[in-house]
Structure formats: C-alpha cells, structure tokens
C-alpha cells in the first residue's frame, strides 16, 4: 500500500473540481473545504448533495461550480441517494455495461442534513456497507435558512431559534458527537478534518477514498456570516478550533483511534470564543464551564489514542 501520510504542497492537485464564481459568502471555509476535498478526490467522482448552503451557492445556472456529476436531492436523503448510485454502478459494472474503473461516490450534507434530518439515511448507508464517502460539512447551524440551531450547534451559541437573552444562554445542549456515532457503525474509516489544516485534510481524504467500504469525513466549516465574525479570520479561527480542543483532529481507521494533530497543551478557549459574535453574551463563568468540558472531552480522546474502539 502506498504511504498515505505524506502530503506536501507540491503534491496538491492543480485541477479544480469546484470552480470559482460560486455564491458563497466572504470567508466561507465550507466552500474552501469542498474545493480542497474534491481537488483531492479527483475527476472520477459522483456527488449526491443534500439541500443546504453548498447546494444553493454552487449550482444555480449559469454559475454552476461543479465539474463532476452532481445530484441535488432532498434534505434528508443524500446518503440514501449515494447508496443508490453506488449500488447502480456496481450492477452496471457487473453486467459489463460500464468499464471497470474506480469511481468514488460521495454523499454530502451540512450538519443539519447529517446529524438531524439525514441521520436515519446516513446510518442505513453506513450499516449496509456501501463503498462511498459521506462528507458532513459542519458549520454548526442551519445557515441556509438563516442561522437556526442544529444538534451540532455548540453549547452557548446564540442562533435565531436558540436566541441568547435573559431567559436563555443560547444553545442549551452540547454538540452531538457525529464522528463517534458513525465510528460505532464499525465502518472502515472515520475522520475529522479542518480546512485550516490542509495536508491533514488531504491525507484523510485519500484514506477515505481508499477505504474498503463506507468512509465518513466530518469537516469543520467556519461560517463567518452565521458565527458573526470577521471573514478574514476564518482560517485563523479554524486553527484555533483544533488548537483549543474544540474540534480535535483524529481518525478512526478500522476501529483504531489516532489523533493526527496532537495538542497536549490546549490553547485558552477565550481566544477562540472572543472573535465570534455568537458567543458574545457568554460570561466568564460560562466560558470556563465550556473550557472544562472541552478539556475533559479532549483528554478522553487522548486516553483512547491507539486503542481499538
């Protein structure tokens, strides 16, 4: 097997599968992640996309950003459609109606389309073992409809359906741990990726593509519009997310957990929280509470390093 852990700038694919000219907001790290991931995945790719920001900004004629076959399906069923595409391809190859070549089937959706409404379809696809990659672009709320909370919204974030105020801290539950939900399906490859760490991202995408069965990538996608922050900070905030332990970068390969960007000394959470308007209302005590939880979760992950889950 080729060494997949080495990825350098000169190896980065130059062809763009997700072209410029789309309608994403300034500083959209989600669009950046889509471009990076599909750059690495290459040409022989079929994408089933759930309803969401990436669908809206990338597909309107004549501004279509996609240079690979792309299907927009409903909100809740990207994983089911990708399953269907994969099963269809398999049968066409078996019958000799398609030449045998490596085609990567990709399902993609936002955090709502993955962790909320699409969880059932995703769980089914993972359980049935289709050879596909499902990519969750997690910008931590329903941004397409105007910043409503999802089960992926972090504790304390103010959204339009979890508004902060005298009676509310904002989002009152902790973020759903989607990568571990999928890891519990015993699929060959699960990883968290962050476009602020491009080489880590690229090597994980390669591994996902090579996996013999379903692979799941959970992408941290900074949304300056929805998080109420300066667009030019998107990459820096992404780095801080992993450095503070909020979004640790790890993979679960054939059940074995490995932290790919180890951060023994976590940066203070305040650095991450402060530039974001969605956390503006939080007092020091609440920030400390969140920091404690983030640290606990990170240490938990560390203790499982190298273990088969």
């Amino acid at each position: 097997m080729e060494s997949l852990n080495v990825f350098a700038a000169r190896l980065w694919p130059t062809e763009n599968r997700f072209a410029s000219g789309h309608r994403a907001c300034q500083g959209c790290a989600e669009a950046l992640a889509v471009r990076m991931i599909h750059g690495v995945l290459g040409r022989n790719t079929i994408v089933a996309s759930a309803t969401g920001c990436m669908e809206i900004i990338s597909s309107s004629y004549p501004d279509t950003a996609w240079t690979v076959p792309w299907l927009h399906v409903a909100f809740e069923n990207a994983a089911a459609v990708a399953s269907g595409v994969e099963a269809g391809l398999k049968i066409l190859v078996k019958k000799g109606k398609l030449p045998k070549r490596k085609i990567t089937v990709v399902g993609m959706g936002g955090d709502g389309a993955t962790a909320d409404i699409g969880l059932q379809a995703l769980s089914g696809a993972m359980e049935r073992g289709h050879k596909m990659i499902y990519v969750c672009y997690d910008n931590e709320a329903y941004m397409n409809t105007g910043i409503q909370r999802s089960s992926s919204t972090p504790f304390g974030a103010s959204t339009t359906t979890s508004p902060a105020g005298s009676l509310s801290v904002g989002q009152s539950t902790w973020k759903k741990n989607m990568p571990m939900v999928i890891a519990a399906h015993n699929v060959p490859y699960v990883a968290t990726v962050n476009p602020s760490f491009p080489f880590d991202l690229a090597s994980k995408v390669r591994k996902a593509q090579a996996a013999n069965g379903p692979a799941y990538l959970h992408v941290y996608a900074c949304c300056p519009t929805g998080w109420r922050m300066a667009p030019e900070l998107a990459i820096a905030i992404g780095r801080l997310a992993s450095r503070t332990g909020v979004f640790p970068l790890y993979e679960v390969e054939n059940g074995k957990l490995h932290i790919t960007v180890p951060t023994p000394k976590l940066s203070p959470l305040k650095e991450y929280i402060q530039p974001q308007g969605r956390f503006r209302h939080l007092d020091d005590a609440t920030v400390a509470e969140i920091e404690k939880r983030v640290e606990e979760e990170y240490r938990k992950l560390e203790r499982r390093e190298g273990l088969v889950l």
């Binding site: 309803t51 927009h72 409903a74 909100f75 809740e76 909320d116 409404i117 969880l119 329903y142 409809t145 105007g146 409503q148 909370r149 089960s151 339009t160 359906t161 979890s162 508004p163 105020g165 009676l167 509310s168």
Partner: protein, 386 residues
C-alpha cells in the same frame, strides 16, 4: 372564554404575516410549539422561539419535520394547545402524522407557508399548490379544516380561529398561508385580551372510571370530549382502527363506524364552518373565485372589469376546506360563469366545478413564483363574456 392576557401582545403593530401568525397562536393560548427551519416559514419559528419562553411556554426545535409533527401531538394529549410550522417538503414529511392526528382526533394546528413546488421547487417564492395536499395528502379517508388568510391582520385573527376550530372539532387544522402573505408587512391590530374569544377543549363530564371510553361522543355530537393524560382517565391512543374505548378493532364494521364519523364531523359541519367574503356579487354575471393572496389580486381585476362595464364580483372562501358549498351553489344558480384564479394549475377549481352544476367554470392558472397579473385574469373574464 377570554384569552389569557399573557399571550396577547395588545396594540398596533407593523408585522409580517409569519410574525402575526405567531402572535395569533400565542393569543389563542398555544403554549407548545415544535418546529424546524424551512423557507419561507422560518420567521414563524424564530419568533415563537423567542416569544414562547416569555409567556411560560415551550418551543423545541426538533431534528426534522417528522419529529415536529408528532411531538406536538404528544403535547396535545398532555393538554396543551399546539402548533407546528413548515412549508413545501417539510409539509410532505409531516403527512403521515397529519393522518395520525385525524385518526386519533388530536387538536393541533399545522401552518403551511406555501412555496412553489413540487420538491424543493422555488423555496423563496409564492404558490398555492398545496391545497389538495392539505385536504387529502395523508393516506386513507379523512377530512380536515383548511383556512387561507390574505393579510398579516388575518394571519393573526385566523390563526386564533384555527386554534378554536381545532379544539372544537378535535382535528388537525391546516393554516394555509402563502409566501406572499407570510412575507408581507402591514398594520396588525391586536385587541385587548378580553375582546378575544378563545375556545378551550371540552373535557368529559364523567369522573375517571372503568366505564369511561375515550372516544365516546355525547348524544347529538360527533366530537368526543378529551381529557389530558395523567388525570386518571384510561387512555389507549392508536393509529389503528379503534372502538370508542380506543382499543384496536380489525373489522369492516368498526372501520365504517369510525371513519364515517371522522369524515362526517367535518363534512357535515360545513354550514357552521363556512366563512367567506363577497364583493359585488349581487348583480354579477361572472364571479371571480380566489383565496389567500390571489383574493387580493382579483380585487383589482374586478375593478378593471367594472370600469369596462363588465358585471364582475368576487367570492373568496376563507375556510377553504370544507368548501363553503351552500353559498357557492346559490351563486351558481344566478351567475353566468365562475373564473377561479389560483397559483396552481387547477386544484380548488375542481371543487368549484363540482358545485357549479351546469354553470361554466374557467380556471385562470399560474404555476407560481409570482402573482397573477390582474390584467391576465381580466382577459380570462373578457373571453368568458365574449
């Protein structure tokens, strides 16, 4: 009964239809709402998420519309007045549970801010193409009540009315807004709480006992009283065909008895449910039939026609299901034709045609995405009168 003043935002406001709908629900006593974001109904959810906690209520954003539409039914059985909101694909996902609410006779209000479809369609643009789905979108035989407001003021008034009807008839009520009404901002007057008449759920007169039957109607009524769970009454609620105790019975007799009552309690109540507006129908040769936002467009068509000496009136059903059929039949006897204008390719026109007898019925259709041009409807009228 008078409205609970806590939920009534008395005063003169400048609100869009979505926000006015939310205020109507709160004034009606809705204290439990579960929803999910979807354009163009998200504003209702956003406002209710902010407002409900301040009046002692609960809003939860659920994981999808399937969960929202059934969670409200749990809350309704717990004794609350409940609401869920959606549009387009979200309403399609709710359909199984709308049938369940009809079968289990659960009072609840579903707000549908209609957008153009099918499927994802035009999420941000107007249509009125869910009218038949509202009526019969779930499987099996049932009837619901559907109401179409045409202004933010009516979004307030009629949401309150929708709750009153849901409680009176123990049925899901479909509140059929459309994107144009939902996003239109106008003056909305919310009266004082003591001026608002609110219907509370009728509870059983008998005390809890072995003899109590959950779905037993009082003589002369087709609507059984409904206690909240947890007060000692024996409950067995099921989507299976059931007898008056609520227990499943798998035979044709039970099916006939139950489904006939469920349908009749709405269908035969048409005279008391009928609510409509008329303009200049007394001397009219042609009556324009329209509901929701289109009922405002046809006003202009009517004026243009009158300026040209054409005798044109307007009939606007406010409660569209059950259709105000007695009145339409009366009109059919004396007008030359009906022109039905709706933002779809022919839905309510089918009902008008059925009721019109021999009277000519013509459709002025529009696939949605924008409103009719008043002149286009006028043209249809002119052709009919030629």
């Amino acid at each position: 009964m008078k409205a609970d003043p806590r939920g009534v935002l008395t005063g003169v406001h400048f609100l869009d239809g979505d926000h006015a709908c939310c205020e109507g629900a709160l004034a009606a006593g809705c204290r439990c709402a579960f929803g999910y974001p979807i354009t163009p109904s998200t504003e209702v959810v956003e406002r209710i998420a902010q407002r409900l906690p301040t009046v002692g209520g609960v809003f939860l954003q659920m994981e999808d519309e399937i969960a929202s539409s059934i969670a409200i039914q749990g809350a309704a059985w717990g004794g609350k007045k409940v609401l869920s909101v959606s549009s387009g694909p979200g309403i399609s996902l709710m359909m199984e549970h709308i049938g369940l609410a009809a079968m289990t006779e659960t009072p609840c209000v579903f707000v549908n801010v209609q957008r153009a479809g099918p499927s994802t369609g035009l999420p941000t643009l107007v249509a009125q193409a869910d009218m038949m789905q509202a009526r019969w979108g779930s499987h099996g035989d049932y009837e619901v009540i559907a109401i179409c407001p045409n202004s933010p003021q009516e979004c307030f008034d009629l949401t309150l009315h929708a709750f009153n009807l849901a409680e009176t008839y123990r049925t899901p009520v479909m509140f059929m807004m459309d994107e144009a009404v939902g996003h239109m901002t106008e003056r909305v007057v919310i009266p004082a709480a003591e001026q608002l008449e609110v219907v509370e759920r009728r509870r059983p007169r008998e005390k809890p006992s072995d003899q109590y039957a959950l779905y037993r109607c009082e003589p002369g009524s087709r609507v059984p009283p409904m206690p909240p769970v947890g007060e000692g009454y024996r409950f067995h609620v099921t989507g299976l065909t059931h007898d008056e105790r609520g227990y499943p019975v798998m035979n044709a007799e039970a099916q006939d008895k139950l489904v006939r009552r469920l349908v009749d309690k709405i269908r035969l109540a048409e005279p008391e449910l009928a609510r409509y507006e008329e303009f200049q129908v007394d001397d009219a040769d042609v009556v324009l039939v329209a509901y929701g936002i289109t009922s405002r467009v046809v006003q202009r068509s009517m004026r243009l026609a009158r300026e040209r000496g054409l005798k044109v009136g307007v009939f606007r059903p406010v409660v569209v299901w059950p259709f105000p059929e007695r009145r339409l039949r009366e009109l059919a006897r004396r007008v030359k034709a009906f022109v039905v204008a709706e933002l779809n390719l022919g839905q309510v026109v089918l009902e008008v045609e059925r009721l019109a007898g021999g009277t000519r019925t013509v459709l002025a259709s529009h696939a949605g995405g924008a409103l009719h041009e008043p002149e286009a409807i006028l043209k249809v009228v002119q052709e009919v009168l030629r």
